[in-house]
């Protein structure tokens, strides 16, 4: 189990700046470190390897361009951090793809901050060292 005191580095992929702000605010309130933010897929591909997060918080719907799941799959060979997907709705196809993605969580908005925290800690503890080795 990871040390609850140690800060988890979280990278936020969210196309809406204010929502990203809220997410960051909530993560910080939960004691995590927001190590980076991207509003689009390409940005994420460029920034994640630099930010070296422990976990990626990925909004599935990124507006135009590839969706969050596609971006996560493109990221995996570059930076294999676990991903917590955020979606506004439950969708069987997305659920199935997310499950196939491995050590990932899927949160339906709106979620309680506690649920977010639980999800982040769960995926990080399931793949300890992944973030450091990447």
């Amino acid at each position: 189990m990871p040390d609850l005191t140690s800060a988890i580095r979280v990278f936020v992929v969210e196309d809406e700046a204010l929502i990203a702000m809220e997410l960051a605010d909530r993560l910080i309130a939960l004691g995590h470190v927001v190590c980076g933010h991207a509003s689009r897929g390409e940005q994420a591909l460029a920034r994640v390897p630099v930010a070296r997060p422990d976990v990626i918080l990925m909004d599935i719907n990124l507006g135009r361009g590839p969706n969050g799941i596609d971006v996560a799959e493109l990221l995996r060979p570059i930076w294999a951090a676990p991903v917590v997907f955020l979606s506004a709705y439950t969708d069987a196809e997305i659920s199935e793809r997310v499950t196939r993605h491995g050590a990932s969580a899927y949160l339906v908005k709106p979620f309680r901050p506690e649920a977010l925290d639980t999800a982040i800690r769960a995926v990080v503890s399931a793949r300890p060292g992944d973030g450091a080795s990447g």
Binding site: D15, I19, D25, G63, P110, E114
Partner: protein
């Protein structure tokens, strides 16, 4: 011998006188009155009267046979007055009544003054000579007669012999059966042919044995007739059948006549039996043929007539009467101009001319004339006629072609109409035979090729299409056409769309349908094709699709943007809420964010839906309920079930509906199950008669006693009331082992998805 001389004469002795007195000839002197004046002894000797008795008596009364007397007297008188003499043989009667034939030579005696004095006659007794001559003549005539009789008899016998011989020969070789009977009708003789026809031996046939020969159906009649004619002595004539022992049936004509003896009595019958089977068969065949001809005439509306121009006799077949509407009872022997009298006035001149031509040439070619029937109906009749060289009779036929001509006219009209329809089509309509030669080409098609239909019909399509022109065809060139032709001819419906063919230098998009052409036996003889130039439509459809796609994308973007904006609002509220101090204010912000969730989700669902204007209510409510459950962290305590019909609701209905669900579910999650209580909440959305029934119910603590949702001042319930009002619906809340809220609202445009899809039909 004494000679009495008249007293006035000179009595001198005379030697000639003596001689005359003694000569064996009669010398007689009569006075003018016929009295004997003087006679010689030979007269006395011959007659037995004495001279004295004779002298002075009337010659005629005394010596002539009574039958000759007056004739002789008259002759004497006329001889005396005419001073004539005569030579003749007359009979005289002797005293004993015998007659003697005397040859007389008379001389009238005149006195010196020339006055007659009397008649001097010399008579020679020729009785013996006359008798001898008579006997001789008798003998001669007897001889002659007997000779004639002899010759006659000989001839008769010879003829009889020949006749019998000929009869027997004839009978033996006769092609007809011959029989002979006695006066009672019993067979006494049958010839071989009779036996052959009857199938009986001569022995079997004699007597009444012949009765076995007639067919059982005819036997009683024949036997009865035979008995009757025999008893009445009449001739016999009957037609009947013989049945031979081998079962074969022969039609015969039996005839018999009585023959009579010398006294006129019937001594028997002689008869013939003729095999008329062939004649009967021909008669039957003829009758059958006649029946068939009449039936055929009636079926074909063909009447026939025969006109013997020489005798003027005209005969019509029954169909002739029907065609002309003439009563056969009124006109059993139709007048020769009866048909002409029925000709339509407008055709009468032509008809009269044709009739003259027929009489002159003996021939009438097929001609059609209008005929006015007796009932006034006008019919079209086709006629022809020909003089028979065999019997000199004109034979003619008349056919009622009114219906035929009417059908032809209608057919032609229908065909013209069809061709007009085909030709007026802007689409290409054409037909090809199995060799791909055009059978029919409409104007649109030929015009597209820059030709006329007649330039294409009969030619193969390969003459009009080059492979370069057909490069859009999956199979290059006309081979593709031909494959389609074969498929269509094999009874497959062929539809090839979006075929690009170069027509008149420009590529055209063509839709072609092909169907088989089949004859009356269902055998294909070609294909019928229908090609539409859809270039414009395709371009327009593509343009429309592109435009629609653009608009759809735009709409999706808008919904997405609205959703994002609402989320941004939610985030803004989040940041705002961080500034408030009191828990009540924080709760107010939280409630506002929850309400925004219902709005956010509806737009999310909209931009994900195919329709972009309607939301699948079950999907929406499930997402909403799941989010609420998450928000209130109720997953462990309260299970929320959603039962929803498949309903697609427009945005203006779905959003208030979702907000009502949001309020009621939030209430249930927040208040119905105070910890540690757990339970169920059920959200139901049902399609009812002309609207929607929405219920939210739980098995929690229920409403407080006396709770009236419309009277409370809670913002949540006010919101429910107002939204319900906006929907034109009603809300009912009650407690029954938990809270039950039911909202009914109309939705006129609502149709279950399955119903709307199944009720739509293709045009």
């Amino acid at each position: 011998v004494s000679l009495v001389l008249p007293p006035t004469e000179d009595h001198r002795a005379d030697p000639l006188g003596d001689l005359l007195e003694d000569a064996p000839v009669i010398l007689l002197w009569l006075d003018l009155d016929g009295r004997i004046e003087r006679a010689n002894a030979f007269l006395a000797q011959l007659t037995g009267w004495s001279l004295g008795e004779l002298c002075g008596v009337d010659w005629f009364d005394a010596l002539l046979p009574a039958c000759d007397r007056e004739t002789a007297r008259a002759a004497f008188r006329s001889g005396v007055t005419a001073s004539t003499t005569r030579d003749r043989v007359d009979a005289i009667v002797t005293r004993d009544g015998r007659e003697r034939e005397i040859e007389w030579h008379d001389r009238l005696r005149l006195d010196s003054a020339g006055t007659p004095m009397g008649v001097l006659s010399v008579g020679v007794d020729v009785t013996d000579r006359v008798k001898a001559e008579q006997a001789l003549r008798l003998r001669q005539s007897e001889l002659e007669r007997s000779q004639e009789q002899l010759a006659e008899r000989w001839e008769t016998e010879r003829a009889l012999f020949e006749s019998r011989q000929r009869f027997e020969m004839l009978v033996s070789v006769s092609p007809v059966g011959v029989f002979q009977t006695d006066a009672y009708g019993h067979r006494t003789f049958v010839n071989p042919r009779w036996c052959e026809i009857a199938g009986l031996t001569p022995e079997q046939a004699v007597g009444d044995g012949w009765r076995a020969a007639p067919h059982s159906d005819d036997r009683d009649r024949v036997v009865a007739t035979w008995a009757r004619i025999v008893s009445e002595g009449l001739p016999f004539r009957e037609e009947y059948r013989f049945i031979r022992p081998d079962g074969s049936v022969t039609w015969v004509l039996g005839q018999a006549v009585p023959y009579r003896g010398s006294a006129g009595e019937i001594v028997g019958y002689i008869g013939t039996t003729t095999d008329i089977t062939e004649r009967k068969r021909i008669e039957d065949d003829l009758a059958d043929a006649q029946t068939r001809v009449l039936r055929a005439e009636a079926l074909a509306h063909v009447g026939s007539w025969a006109w013997n121009v020489t005798t003027g006799e005209m005969r019509w077949s029954p169909e002739m009467y029907r065609i002309y509407g003439v009563d056969p009872v009124e006109h059993p022997r139709p007048a020769s101009d009866l048909a002409l009298s029925h000709v339509h006035p407008d055709d009468l001149v032509v008809a009269t001319g044709l009739r003259s031509g027929l009489l002159a040439s003996g021939h009438l070619d097929l001609v059609e004339l209008r005929v006015v029937r007796s009932d006034g109906e006008v019919r079209t009749v086709r006629s022809e006629a020909q003089l028979s060289r065999r019997d000199g009779v004109l034979y003619g036929f008349a056919q009622d072609v009114t219906d035929l001509r009417r059908t032809e006219r209608e057919l032609r009209r229908t065909r013209d109409l069809l061709l007009r329809v085909v030709d007026s089509s802007p689409d290409w309509i054409y037909a090809k035979d199995l060799e791909h030669r055009y059978l029919l080409v409409n104007e649109a098609f030929s015009r597209a090729r820059g030709l006329s239909p007649s330039q294409m019909v009969g030619h193969s399509d390969t003459e009009f299409w080059t492979p370069e022109e057909c490069e859009g065809d999956p199979v290059a060139g006309t081979r593709g056409f031909h494959e389609d032709d074969r498929a269509a001819a094999a009874d497959q419906r062929v539809h090839r769309d979006n075929l690009v063919i170069v027509v008149g230098g420009a590529p055209r998009v063509l839709d072609t349908y092909k169907a088989p052409l089949q004859d009356e036996h269902g055998r294909p003889y070609g294909v019928l094709a229908y090609t539409r130039d859809v270039t414009h439509e395709r371009h327009a459809a593509a343009e429309l699709e592109r435009s629609l796609g653009e608009k759809e994308t735009l709409l999706r973007e808008i919904h997405h943007r609205v959703k994002n904006n609402l989320q941004i609002v939610s985030s803004l509220l989040y940041f705002q809420s961080k500034k408030v101090r009191s828990a009540a204010d924080a709760e107010a912000f939280s409630e506002a964010r929850t309400r925004l969730l219902a709005m956010t989700l509806v737009h999310e669902k909209l931009y994900q839906s195919l329709e972009l204007s309607r939301v699948e209510i079950g999907d929406y409510v499930r997402s909403l309920v799941a989010a609420l459950s998450q928000t209130f962290d109720a997953g462990d305590r309260v299970r929320v079930d959603v039962h929803a019909d498949e309903l697609r609701l427009p945005l203006d209905v779905a959003l208030p509906c979702g907000m009502i669900v949001c309020e009621l579910t939030t209430n249930a999650l927040k208040y119905a199950f105070p910890p540690p209580r757990t339970g169920h909440t059920t959200v139901t959305v049902r399609s009812v008669a002309d609207g929607v029934m929405l219920t939210v119910e739980d098995d929690g603590v229920g409403f407080p006693v006396g709770f009236d949702p419309l009277a409370v001042v809670s913002f949540g319930w006010i919101l429910v009331g107002k939204l319900c009002e906006q929907l034109g619906g009603t809300v009912v809340a009650r407690s029954d082992r938990g809270a039950h809220v039911r909202v009914d609202f109309p939705c006129p445009t609502l149709r279950p998805r399955y119903a709307s899809s199944s009720s739509r039909t293709r045009p």
